[in-house]
């Protein structure tokens, strides 16, 4: 069998073009889609594990505010015992315990509480991947919300969230995706998120992201053991604050840079990884994904050019069909 030179060149050209396109995608930073920026009026939450006493008032308040039912995981259904976020639980307080678990905010022989709820990423994967725009990020406040009336239930958001936040309901024929929407319905009528509203120690605070970031810097600068006045409910609400010795904080705030930053941030005495939060780089996964898509399909130029070439070849190689009946 001999490969005719012309065909070989055509084949080589087509293959070469495909390889070149993909190579260009992989190596061209010029086309890269950068992380998205923090919206101008971004609001968020600050959860300080060292202030949390594990009362779970926020879990109860979240249920009331978002109309979710309790989850039972004990033999007798006596207490609301959600084990994790689920299709019916949007906010949960978990416990880290090690060894004798005697000392609060200590990694060895200690314990600490941690809140799990939506991080409201600055550049969320769920919004990028949702094929039907059911996941949306508010351009002003940056709240990441979900619209079940648009959702097709493909669960790409569940699969792609680096924090494992959106949850699907597997036990019903009419399932929904559930996630914290920062009580946007309460904010719309001038209230603050229910979890921050009820927190007795100010462990969960609501406020503008810039103010919350300043507050984390202030806490990092505190001398451990020295008394400090901590606000409650909102970041500026020192009038209703309470005094407590500052804790030994981890050197960084979680959510400042992770995944391009998040609008919910964490402070803790115990490492964030031990509390179940992953180590994440500064580039958002959405930007990596969209860089590739946008390079390949920019203005649909490449696909249209390839289609034109294919149509030329296909036409040339089938044009005798009409008369060359056998």
């Amino acid at each position: 069998m001999s490969i005719n030179r012309r065909d070989f060149l055509k084949g080589a050209a087509a293959g070469g073009a495909a390889v070149a396109t993909c190579a260009a995608v992989a190596t061209s930073p010029a086309e890269a889609r950068e992380n998205k920026e923090l919206p101008p009026k971004a609001v968020g939450l600050l959860y300080d594990s060292t202030l949390c006493i594990g009362c779970k008032s926020c879990v109860v308040a979240c249920r009331q505010a978002n109309d979710t039912h309790p989850e039972f995981n004990t033999a007798d259904p006596l207490w609301d015992t959600p084990l994790d976020l689920s299709g019916y639980t949007l906010n949960v307080i978990k416990l880290y315990a090690e060894g004798t678990a005697d000392h609060k905010d200590q990694e060895e022989n200690g314990f600490a509480f941690i809140k799990k709820s939506c991080m409201h990423c600055v550049d969320p994967s769920c919004v990028s991947v949702c094929p039907v725009t059911a996941m949306q990020k508010d351009p002003e406040t940056g709240i990441v919300s979900h619209d079940p009336s648009a959702c097709i239930g493909c669960r790409y958001c569940v699969a792609s969230c680096p924090f494992g936040v959106p949850r699907f309901q597997y036990d019903t024929p009419t399932p929904r995706i559930q996630k914290c929407q920062m009580c946007k319905h309460r904010q719309a009528v001038g209230q603050i998120p229910a979890c921050a509203e009820v927190c007795p120690t100010g462990a969960t605070l609501f406020g503008p992201v810039t103010a919350l970031r300043e507050e984390t810097e202030r806490r990092h600068a505190l001398t451990p053991g020295q008394p400090n006045l901590f606000p409650r409910k909102t970041v500026d609400n020192l009038a209703d604050g309470h005094e407590k010795p500052a804790a030994h904080y981890q050197p960084s705030t979680y959510g400042l840079t992770e995944m391009g930053g998040t609008q919910m941030m964490l402070l803790s005495g115990v490492s964030y990884q031990k509390l179940g939060y992953p180590v994440l780089g500064p580039d958002s996964n959405a930007s990596a994904s969209e860089s590739i898509q946008h390079t390949l399909y920019k203005g649909m130029v490449a696909p249209v050019a390839v289609l034109a070439g294919l149509m030329y070849a296909a036409h040339k190689h089938t044009k005798h069909d009409g008369r060359d009946e056998d």
């Binding site: 991947v129 996964n285 296909a314 190689h317 005798h320």
Partner: protein, 393 residues
């Protein structure tokens, strides 16, 4: 007159009865799924929201349905007329593979009644890789039915319709080459957003290229696989000679694949992970072995016309391509504390979908002009002409 002819024969055979039983079981399982929710049948959960219904029914089965794409590229774009007898059966398998892959997505969608949103301006999100995949797969399904329509025209309509079809068919042939290029690569791009949730041996910006190359090689392999099975099942003369030529493309594609996959791993400094990742190291090396097998078997010219070696090479490629997709989507994916293994119901559903494909394929080749007829001499009429132009009928 057409070069294709129905092969005839009874429709009720042992194979078709077994397939029908599997389909019936799936229908019952579907009823349970639609009455009680996905969790009533499938083991998917919030740590592994995608199970084999996504990974086999869509990702792998469309890869296995790339025969029509691969052969159309060869015959109509690269003008290799001699492969023409392989095009129509390949298109038929692709048509069923894609149609069922596309259709079975409905079973996996939690809120399937909204599925039309994905094609609707105002809802559709062009940033989403899944949007691109869905749009391309849906369009390609339609293109496949049109590409295959000359067979329907030959059976039920006059030559005029077929002549009209032939005038515009090149547009659909071109689309039939573009669309799979787009969505088969995108099935790799889908995973990029998963970032660190996927093990670094699989997570790479080369995913789209690796998925595309392996999908094409799976396309050529399924043509060899099906031709060999059809030849033996319906006692048709061997097509080993022409299939031997097809194996060369698998060798080229998978050589490129392995160079890119290993090259990327070396350049990114991930080489130690190849040996230090426990079970995942094993899976990675198993994939490489399965992909290397067709190269080793079909590289030497002397082996190419050996029917058994062809079949083993094609099978290794199909299993390797399937394993690569299962690994990339499920095995290398994970969150601490979560587990997934398909339930019996999930597996039976998938078997049922495969059974539908086999049933439909059998009915079509027996009743419609799909395969080239066997001549009196007992030799297949391989058309050894230089261009496809004279042979596209």
């Amino acid at each position: 007159m057409s070069k294709h002819a129905p092969i005839g024969g009874p429709l009720v055979t042992r194979t078709t009865v077994i397939a029908a039983v599997l389909v019936a079981i799936s229908v019952v399982l579907l009823g349970v799924r639609f009455l009680y929710g996905l969790g009533a049948v499938a083991n998917i959960n919030n740590g592994y929201p995608w199970g084999i219904w996504v990974v086999y029914d869509v990702v792998i089965s469309t890869g296995l349905a790339c025969g029509g794409y691969a052969m159309a590229l060869l015959v109509y774009i690269l003008n290799k007329g001699k492969y023409h007898p392989l095009v129509r059966p390949a298109l038929l398998a692709s048509m069923f593979g894609y149609s069922l892959g596309g259709f079975s997505v409905i079973f996996d969608l939690g809120r399937y009644w909204n599925f039309w949103h994905i094609m609707t301006p105002g809802f559709a999100n062009p940033n989403s890789v899944m949007f691109e995949v869905a749009l391309c797969v849906a369009c390609y399904c339609m293109v496949l039915w049109i590409e295959f329509s000359p067979a329907f025209a030959e059976k039920w309509a006059g030559p005029e319709l077929k002549q009209k079809l032939n005038k515009v068919l090149f547009v659909f042939i071109a689309l039939g080459c573009l669309l799979p290029t787009m969505h088969q690569s995108s099935l790799g791009s889908l995973l990029i957003v998963f970032g660190q949730l996927i093990h670094p041996l699989w997570q790479t910006k080369m995913l789209p290229l690796l998925f595309l190359l392996s999908a094409l090689a799976m396309g050529f392999s399924i043509v060899i696989f099906e031709a060999t099975l059809v030849t033996s099942a319906y006692k048709r003369p061997s097509e080993a000679k022409i299939l031997g030529f097809v194996t060369r493309y698998i060798v080229v594609l998978m050589s490129a694949y392995l160079v890119i996959r290993w090259g990327d791993i070396i350049i990114e400094g991930k080489l130690p992970l190849v040996f230090s990742s426990g079970g995942l190291s094993f899976m990675f090396l198993l994939e490489t072995a399965l992909f290397a097998l067709p190269i080793i078997l079909m590289g030497p010219k002397a082996n190419r016309n050996n029917e058994r070696l062809q079949f083993i090479a094609a099978l290794a490629m199909l299993v390797g391509g399937g394993l690569y997709r299962i690994d990339a989507y499920l095995v290398s994916y994970g969150r601490a504390g979560w587990h997934y293994f398909p339930s019996v119901g999930e597996l039976l559903m998938t078997l049922g979908i495969i059974a539908v494909e086999i049933l439909a394929y059998i009915v079509f080749v027996k009743k419609l002009p799909v395969l080239h007829p066997v001549s009196k001499m007992g030799e297949p009429r391989i058309v050894e002409r230089a261009t496809a132009a004279a042979t596209t009928k």
